[in-house]
């Protein structure tokens, strides 16, 4: 059995109560949601928080709804609910693409979107998904709420804009017409972290790509937002050649490290291939031409 070090534990009954606990307990306190990243780290004693504030009772943070031209997702929404949501699949099918290949059903039953984003593991899928979908997140502290775009959310490896006594409470996805999206991942085995993954979204306008979002997982210290390729696509008619060019940019602009999943050259190659595939599928979906 892997045994974590000793810690104190409390269960929050409200978001404000959880924030108050975090303020009171200081920097050695951690929020626990699904626990599928934090608990393994604690059992391996890679993380040794002194206090855990459990927010699993905050069911008011579990929802997927359409409101004010946005899809809004509560931070405590579990992976399994993201996977099953037809509303989400209708507007942002890349979520379902990603959720079918995130970990396994046991993890998906417990893990949450808020936990995934706040863990900010560069190999994690949902950060790329949200970046490509041009999402923003709502962060609440004792001083109130602020809305942060995904560009400003990832501060560094395993580090986000969420402060020590703050909680991410909602993800917002603006709904725009004629959009399509897709997520492509290569893993060594079902349930493994990605060797590389690419998320892409396009919004069509008069036969050309009006706007695009592209982000990569597992090929850098943080989620890689491939803005140079997004710029390339804007205003151009979709084609395999264009997507190949975008893929080449993704290969160049990522910064993978060599590890047990593969060497740098292979990961760069994958970043390109998967970017192309994601763009091709996202566009086909936007044009209702998916095979």
């Amino acid at each position: 059995m892997q045994t974590p070090a000793a810690f104190e534990y409390e269960r929050a009954t409200s978001v404000d109560g959880a924030i108050a606990s975090l303020e009171r307990l200081g920097s050695e306190a951690r929020v626990i949601a699904g626990g599928h990243s934090l608990l393994p780290m604690m059992k391996l004693r890679l993380a040794n928080p002194e206090h855990l504030v459990d927010i699993n009772d905050l069911t008011e943070l579990s929802y997927i709804r359409e409101q004010e031209g946005e899809i809004r997702i509560g931070a405590m929404t579990r992976h399994v609910d993201l996977l099953r949501s037809d509303l989400l699949a209708q507007h942002f099918p890349l979520f379902r693409d990603a959720e079918t290949v995130i970990a396994d059903p046991v993890v998906r039953n417990r893990g949450t979107i808020g936990g995934s984003l706040c863990q900010a593991d560069a190999a994690e899928d949902l950060s790329a998904v949200c970046a490509a979908a041009k999402a923003s997140v709502v962060i609440r502290g004792s001083g109130g709420e602020r809305v942060v775009s995904m560009d400003g959310f990832h501060v560094g490896p395993f580090t986000t804009a969420v402060g020590a006594a703050e909680i991410l409470i909602e993800v917002r996805l603006p709904v725009r017409p004629d959009g399509g999206s897709a997520h492509e991942k290569v893993e060594r085995r079902a349930g493994d972290w990605a060797i590389a993954a690419a998320s892409a979204a396009v919004w069509m306008q008069d036969g050309t790509i009006g706007d695009a979002g592209i982000a990569l997982s597992a090929v850098g210290l943080t989620t890689i937002h491939v803005t140079r390729a997004e710029e390339l696509l804007r205003g151009k008619a979709p084609s395999d050649e264009l997507f190949a060019e975008a893929g080449a940019i993704a290969s160049e602009d990522c910064s993978p490290a060599s590890d047990g999943r593969g060497p740098i050259d292979y990961k760069r190659h994958l970043a390109g291939v998967l970017t192309q595939r994601a763009l091709r599928r996202a566009t086909a979906r936007a044009l209702h031409q998916e095979a």
């Binding site: 059995m1 892997q2 045994t3 070090a5 000793a6 391996l44 004693r45 396994d104 290569v186 060594r188 085995r189 079902a190 349930g191 493994d192 972290w193 060797i195 047990g260 999943r261 593969g262 060497p263 292979y266 190659h269 994958l270 291939v273 998967l274």
Partner: protein
């Protein structure tokens, strides 16, 4: 417990004897009611935890346990110094080497045992590990077997007198070198390959552990420990600890997988036993996942060079040179007279002119082991090598890999067949089995599909492997482990009610012994299987024998149960003759009943005979009462199951991901006792083979850090990587086994990796020129091969 009520099969479908029967033990397993080691809690029990070395090779300068001892819940901290006073600092391995129980002078692999903490609970024990201060002086590490014998390599085993290099065992040879040279000289085609069977791990889902409970008043040592050979362990403990063997009792309870990993005695066991003897209370120690992966018996790690030749379209010769990486201590599992196990079965299923095999072993700064992971002592490595070489030869000859095999097989008329390395194969009709596999696969259609796909730029491969295994070790004139004959016992007692208990020395780890062995008694005596209790895994309640590994349960223990059943049947015949007032020779047997040959209405059921055996009426002249018997079975030869496997893979041309789309497995394991259990064993082994071929690897960096210390990094396959397996069978009964059975548990693990790797190469050779790749075929490694720069696993 399984009862008649909760047995899943309706009674009309339940065979009394051989046949498809749902497993008796599953009634408790599928309800979560099994009893595994960690479910057992004894009064007053304390918990152990092991401090392990962070270095692969370092001198131990000092160990300060004072801070750990100050922990309020810690009872003791044991180091090598303490064990030295008990004479337990070193223990013998299964291969006549010695292994440090706790490191005193040096640590020799990352994860080696350094100190043992005993505390009131496992949390405190693990907390205290962080309070032990060890000062190390790091030394250069050797992790590459090919470099272990370099003149400047650091000496790993400086504890051994006279050891001046890292050679773990001198070169061992089989076959005829001169005749092999002649075969190569006369050949028209020769191929050579460097082939690595990389280090992998059996990774049973239940890790290893023990509860040791020494009673200072009685001198009795009770042990609960999931292990595959409880009787042999007891003998080893008696020798190592100087305890009386009859005062040691080992109980196994349910075991969550073994696969060879639970054959050896591990340092944690010795520490827990020593701890209980000193403390006088039960000590439980259960390793965590990381400990299991980094310190307990690994498998394979064979670095091989081979040459194969052919003449006139038929394979004629094989030359093999192997470096075996044993890690820091030689605890490889094999019978005494076979330092390379049964690797010299590498001549495979082919009628060769000659072959020659050389194996030498080296020490490296890696965990010890070399256990037979679901295989009979290195047969997996042998089958992988020969089946890869046959494909390499077929490539060079531009021959179809099945045609080449068909031309080179040992013919049915040649059995019993003496191989060029000295094995006597018992029986077989290889071409017939190969044809069944081709029919199921639709081989010609697959080749057509492959050509069409290639034109569209799609990569599809068809891979073949044909294996012959030698299992069921073994005849006592040839085989022993630590001087113990590889025989197994069976005790059978039929009770007055006509129900029976059969005790066996084998020990299930999930293979279904409770069902299979009951079916053997049922077949022989006609007692329904649900009325037969199979006892195992308790050294006080079962006969002596060497246990379950090497696919030996059915070949050895199964034979013992058949023979003991027949002894009981013979005794029943004499009693029946008295009951029926006739002569024994006038009686005939039908399942469950002796009857008078000329008057079939007149007979005695086995349960009536049992009543008589225990009743007040007279027994036959000179016969003791009761209806029971016991045997120790000494197999006259190994059994030789074989099979034809065909894998169909798709390789993504851009991402290099390999998908096993189809897998056809046709096994000939002789007579099948429970075909459903046989199918289940094959499914499990094929899944493992897919894992080994595509993802499993224990790798090390240059400093000797193990890079695969959890299931995040040591990948085992899931159902999603496994196709819907297509199974077939041929039945060639073993001529010397009382039931004609041959054993099957390991065949699928042995036969599937070469089929899959051959398929990957078949997919890539024409378009990308890939003529070799080492396992595991991960996307990154396949991609590198497609770029023309394959890399050996490290």
């Amino acid at each position: 417990m399984a009862t008649i009520e909760n047995l899943p099969s309706p009674s009309a479908e339940r065979p009394i004897g051989f046949g498809r029967l749902k497993r008796k033990e599953d009634a408790r397993f599928i309800r979560g009611q099994g009893t595994y080691l960690d479910d057992i809690r004894l009064p007053g029990m304390v918990h152990g935890a092991i401090l392990r070395s962070p270095y692969a090779h370092a001198r131990v300068v000092s160990i300060d346990t004072s801070r750990a001892l100050a922990h309020p819940n810690v009872a003791a901290v044991v180091t090598a110094k303490d064990l030295e006073t008990l004479g337990l600092a070193w223990m013998p391995t299964i291969s006549y080497d010695t292994q440090a129980v706790l490191a005193g002078d040096k640590v020799r692999f990352q994860g080696q045992e350094v100190a043992f903490v005993i505390a009131t609970d496992e949390y405190s024990a693990n907390d205290a590990l962080q309070l032990i201060d060890v000062e190390y002086e790091p030394l250069p590490a050797i992790v590459n077997a090919r470099k272990a014998l370099d003149p400047d390599a650091p000496l790993i085993r400086d504890d051994k007198a006279g050891q001046h290099d890292n050679l773990a065992s001198p070169t061992w040879e089989a076959g005829d070198e001169e005749a092999t040279n002649r075969a190569f000289a006369e050949a028209d085609t020769v191929v050579s390959r460097d082939i690595i069977y990389p280090r992998c791990h059996p990774a049973p889902l239940e890790t290893c552990g023990i509860i040791a409970d020494f009673n200072p008043q009685t001198g009795q040592l009770n042990i609960w420990n999931g292990n595959q050979a409880p009787h042999a362990h007891r003998t080893v403990y008696a020798h190592v600890a100087g305890l009386a063997e009859h005062m040691i009792r080992i109980r196994c309870s349910d075991i969550g997988g073994g696969f060879g990993n639970k054959v050896p005695v591990y340092p944690g066991y010795v520490c827990a036993i020593a701890g209980s003897i000193v403390a006088g209370v039960p000590v439980k120690w259960i390793e965590n996942r990381t400990e299991n992966l980094v310190s307990t018996g690994f498998a394979r790690d064979y670095v091989m060079r081979a040459e194969m030749c052919s003449k006139d379209g038929k394979i004629t010769g094989l030359r093999v040179d192997v470096i075996a990486d044993h890690g820091a201590f030689d605890s490889t599992a094999q019978p005494t007279k076979f330092p390379a196990g049964f690797f010299h079965i590498v001549c495979g299923s082919y009628d060769l002119q000659a072959s020659h095999v050389k194996v030498k072993a080296v020490y490296t700064n890696k965990a010890p082991g070399g256990v037979a992971y679901r295989c009979s002592f290195r047969i997996t490595e042998a089958v992988y090598l020969v089946e890869r070489m046959v494909d390499a030869l077929a490539l060079k000859m531009k021959a179809d890999p099945i045609d080449l095999r068909m031309r080179s097989f040992i013919a049915p008329g040649q059995f019993p067949y003496e191989t060029t390395t000295g094995w006597t194969y018992d029986s077989g009709n290889y071409a017939e089995t190969m044809k069944v596999a081709m029919d199921i696969a639709g081989y010609d259609d697959l080749r057509r599909e492959q050509r069409e796909k290639r034109e569209r730029g799609e990569l599809m491969g068809i891979g073949v492997a044909f294996f012959t295994e030698g299992v069921g070790a073994g005849p006592r004139k040839h085989m022993d482990i630590l001087g113990l004959a590889m025989n197994d016992g069976a005790d059978l007692r039929v009770h007055p009610s006509g129900k029976a208990v059969v005790s066996i020395s084998a020990q299930t780890q999930g293979q279904g012994h409770e069902t299979t062995f009951a079916q053997i008694v049922a077949e022989e005596l006609g007692i329904p299987p649900e009325d037969i209790e199979v006892r195992q895994g308790d050294t006080d309640k079962s006969p002596y024998g060497l246990g379950t590994y090497g696919s030996r349960s059915t070949p050895v223990s199964g034979a013992a149960v058949a023979v003991v059943s027949r002894k009981v049947r013979d005794k029943a015949r004499l009693i029946a003759a008295t009951m029926l007032e006739t002569r024994p020779e006038d009686l005939a047997w039908e399942k469950g009943r002796w009857y008078v040959k000329g008057d079939p209405e007149k007979g005695a059921m086995i349960e009536d005979i049992a009543v008589r055996a225990y009743g007040g009426e007279p027994m036959p002249e000179g016969m003791e009462g009761g209806l029971d018997a016991q045997v120790i079975y000494d197999p006259p030869n190994l059994t030789y199951p074989y099979g034809a496997y065909i894998a169909v893979v798709d390789v993504d041309p851009d991402t290099a991901q390999v998908t096993v789309r189809r897998f056809i497995a046709v096994d000939d394991c002789g007579v099948r006792i429970n075909p459903m259990i046989v199918d289940g064993q094959i499914h499990g082994g094929l899944a493992e083979g897919i894992g080994i071929a595509l993802m499993e690897l224990l790798s090390f960096d240059a400093e000797g850090n193990c890079l695969n210390s959890s299931f995040m990094d040591y990948l085992i396959p899931t159902a999603l990587e496994c196709p819907d397996f297509e199974l077939g069978e041929t039945v060639t009964p073993c001529p010397h086994h009382p039931l004609g059975a041959k054993g099957v548990g390991e065949s699928p693990n042995v036969g599937s990796p070469p089929a899959i790797v051959n398929a990957v190469i078949d997919a890539l050779y024409e378009t990308h020129g890939v003529d070799h790749i080492d396992m595991p075929c991960t996307p990154a490694r396949v991609w590198a091969a497609m770029q023309g720069r394959p890399e050996p696993p490290q």
